[in-house]
């Protein structure tokens, strides 16, 4: 007999990393609304889905700080207090947004605009440099489906998908069979450029162990040698000239090459200039063959955050509304820099944990001022918050849209009911916006 206590939902999209795998199968216990089985997801995706089940770390009631301790409160009191804090602030910061859906991100833009605040997402500390480089020199890119079907040369530069995007290799880039790559892995040459001997490097055909922090030098030398310039040095960034020549030959002879790059390029010492040079190399290789480049975005919807912010304001991150219109300048309006200079006097963090990722000095300044957090689980950031809103997790407990790392929008599915009292990020933000409008109206 069919067990009717369990419901299986097919084609679920994994809301964890930028690969947005869309083939998960999730078993739900209908009576308790808990996830009891997951198929097709990788370890990290599975962990995220299971973490939505009730646990002591999950917030289920709005919390407000009283006598230095977070205590339970009602949603109305929490919304009221949050609105008051934000209205009073002269330079509020709205940060996070990369692990939620596009509708909530849109509400974030609206809130930042009515507050005259600063709006930023996690690209500020991960792939922001990629965006800067793209603005400087443009970018030739494509979708993961194209790479899967066509690429015969795959280069992973400064990224380790075996750990960070585990199913990327199986679904799009390394082992998968494509329309023109019928033999899967055997039809592709895989090169890893990384100072570390990562698991991705161990299963590659060639591993180039560039010296740490010297990626720029290597990129620059490859570009000069692609142009046929004979260099004076025998070894560049720890790599011999012969090895570089060998790689250039492989690049030029390939039919369709792609560079996937990660934070090894964006967050090592030359930051956006590494990406700038990698994009220029890609462009120049198109004189010989088809070559494209794609960043390995981490958070599942950081690409969505950049896209939604851009279609609303013209800019992807680090946006200041203090003059009533959007202005953009990473370094000036980016969260870490603002916090380091102690310019922020109140913050609203949505689906993010800056306390674990930002430099210590900036976190000290973040905690000095009122802090509102919209977050399903306890995090180092929420532990120091003045107000915490519990939420339904997007892609598990509510629907929404997310953008894959290659800018493909996918509709997230709701697989189970959220805990009682938990609203979606978008609804909480809308309630705060309505309250602010109401309070401002009263004042006038």
């Amino acid at each position: 007999m069919v067990d009717t206590k369990i419901k299986t939902i097919y084609d679920v999209i994994c809301p964890f990393c930028g690969s947005l795998c869309d083939d998960l199968e999730v078993d739900i216990d209908k009576s308790t609304q808990t996830i009891i089985g997951i198929r097709n997801a990788c370890q990290i995706g599975t962990a995220k889905l299971f973490a939505s089940n009730p646990s002591e770390h999950r917030y289920t009631k709005p919390m407000i700080k009283k006598d230095g301790k977070l205590t339970e409160t009602t949603i109305d009191i929490a919304i009221n207090k949050a609105a008051e804090i934000l209205i009073k602030s002269k330079r509020p910061l709205l940060y996070g947004f990369s692990s939620t859906e596009c509708e909530a991100q849109g509400k974030g833009v609206e809130l930042a605009e009515i507050l005259g605040g600063v709006l930023d997402n996690t690209a500020s500390v991960c792939h922001g440099p990629s965006l800067l480089a793209e603005q400087d020199v443009g970018v030739s890119t494509s979708t993961l489906g194209e790479y899967k079907n066509r690429a015969d040369l795959v280069i992973f530069w400064g990224c380790n998908p075996v750990h960070a995007h585990p199913r990327h290799l199986g679904r799009y880039s390394e082992f998968v069979r494509g329309y023109f790559r019928k033999d899967g892995r055997n039809d592709r040459v895989v090169i890893v450029i990384d100072p570390r001997n990562t698991q991705t490097a161990q299963i590659a055909d060639i591993h180039i162990q560039v010296n740490p922090k010297e990626d720029y030098e290597l990129l620059n030398a490859i570009r000069a040698m692609v142009r046929g310039v004979e260099l004076e040095d025998d070894k560049i960034a720890g790599v011999t000239k012969e090895k570089i020549k060998e790689v250039i030959e492989i690049m030029k002879k390939s039919n369709y090459g792609v560079i996937f790059f990660g934070m090894g390029l964006t967050q090592s010492s030359s930051h956006h200039r590494n990406v700038d040079s990698a994009i220029c190399l890609t462009r120049e290789l198109n004189d010989y063959t088809k070559f494209l480049i794609t960043p390995m975005r981490g958070h599942y919807n950081v690409t969505g955050a950049n896209t939604v912010f851009t279609w609303n304001t013209g800019y992807a991150y680090s946006i200041d509304f203090s003059r009533g219109y959007p202005r953009y300048n990473p370094g000036e309006f980016s969260s870490v820099d603002l916090l380091m200079r102690d310019e922020i006097d109140a913050s609203l963090i949505v689906a993010s944990d800056p306390a674990s990722n930002f430099p210590a000095d900036s976190v000290v300044n973040l905690f000095k001022h009122p802090l509102i957090v919209i977050e399903p689980h306890e995090t180092p950031t929420s532990a120091f918050a003045d107000i915490v809103f519990p939420v339904a997790i997007a892609g598990i407990e509510c629907e929404g849209t997310a953008y894959r790392m290659d800018h493909i929008p996918l509709r997230l599915r709701k697989v189970k009911e959220p805990p009682e009292n938990c609203l979606s990020d978008a609804i909480i933000l809308e309630k705060i916006i309505n309250k602010i409008n109401e309070l401002k109206g009263e004042k006038q």
Partner: protein, 228 residues
């Protein structure tokens, strides 16, 4: 201030008269958080006694600004004319293009007597036809000095950090001290006892002449001179 508008008089004590020509403004105090002084200025003179915040004299087309202190990032960004003199240090992106702009400093002179930060003169661009020669003098310089340079001139009296002239298409960079690390794509082409700059200035001394950046072009008019 933040999302509020305040009156200048609430923050500064203001004295003097305004005139249409030869206006001279003297600003005293610690102005580290004051941004965009002298933005798009076209004539006159500003003297700042103290440290100054970001975007000092950005996009100015004429006149002169003197800072007796340090300047923060983007000092003289996208300068189109005039003169900027900083007697202390300056931050990152001195005379640089703003994000996404392909034309940075187009004309004018920046002199920094102290150190400057990263990526100074990013996307600087000269114009032979209009006789425009953007030029930067400084003491020590940070990394990626003159990156994507398209005709700017940079004279460094001290040392530079890594990769001066990265992606330089053409232009001149003269370093009188040491270079922490030069890119492999620069090639030695000889030695020079006299360098004549496009603005007519002549610099004497013993220099090694490198051409580059060859990652941009196989044959290039970009030059890096390092004092022997």
């Amino acid at each position: 201030m933040g999302n509020q508008t305040v009156k200048l008089g609430d923050i500064f004590d203001i004295q003097g008269k305004s005139t249409k020509e030869n206006l001279r403004v003297v600003i005293e105090g610690n102005l580290e958080n004051v941004k965009r002084i002298g933005e798009k200025m076209s004539s006159g003179e500003i003297i700042i006694n103290g440290n100054i915040g970001m975007h000092l004299g950005n996009q100015m087309t004429g006149g002169k600004i003197i800072v007796n202190g340090n300047a923060d990032d983007w000092a003289g960004a996208m300068l189109k004319g005039g003169e900027l003199e900083i007697n202390g240090n300056a931050g990152n992106y001195v005379g640089a293009a703003y994000r996404g702009f392909w034309k940075g400093m187009e004309d004018g002179i920046i002199r920094v007597h102290g150190k400057i930060g990263r990526e100074a003169m990013l996307w600087a661009r000269n114009s032979k036809g209009e006789n425009k020669w953007p030029i930067l003098y400084c003491n020590d310089a940070g990394s990626f000095l003159g990156i994507h340079n398209h005709g700017g001139t940079i004279i460094v009296n001290g040392d530079t950090d890594v990769y001066p002239g990265a992606d330089q298409a053409w232009g001149n960079i003269i370093v009188n001290g040491k270079i922490l690390k030069k890119l492999a794509s620069y090639k030695k082409i000889g030695e020079k006892k006299e360098i004549s700059l496009p603005n007519g200035e002549i610099i004497k001394g013993n220099y090694i002449e490198y051409s580059g950046d060859h990652s941009v072009k196989k044959e290039t008019n970009g030059r890096l001179f390092l004092k022997l």
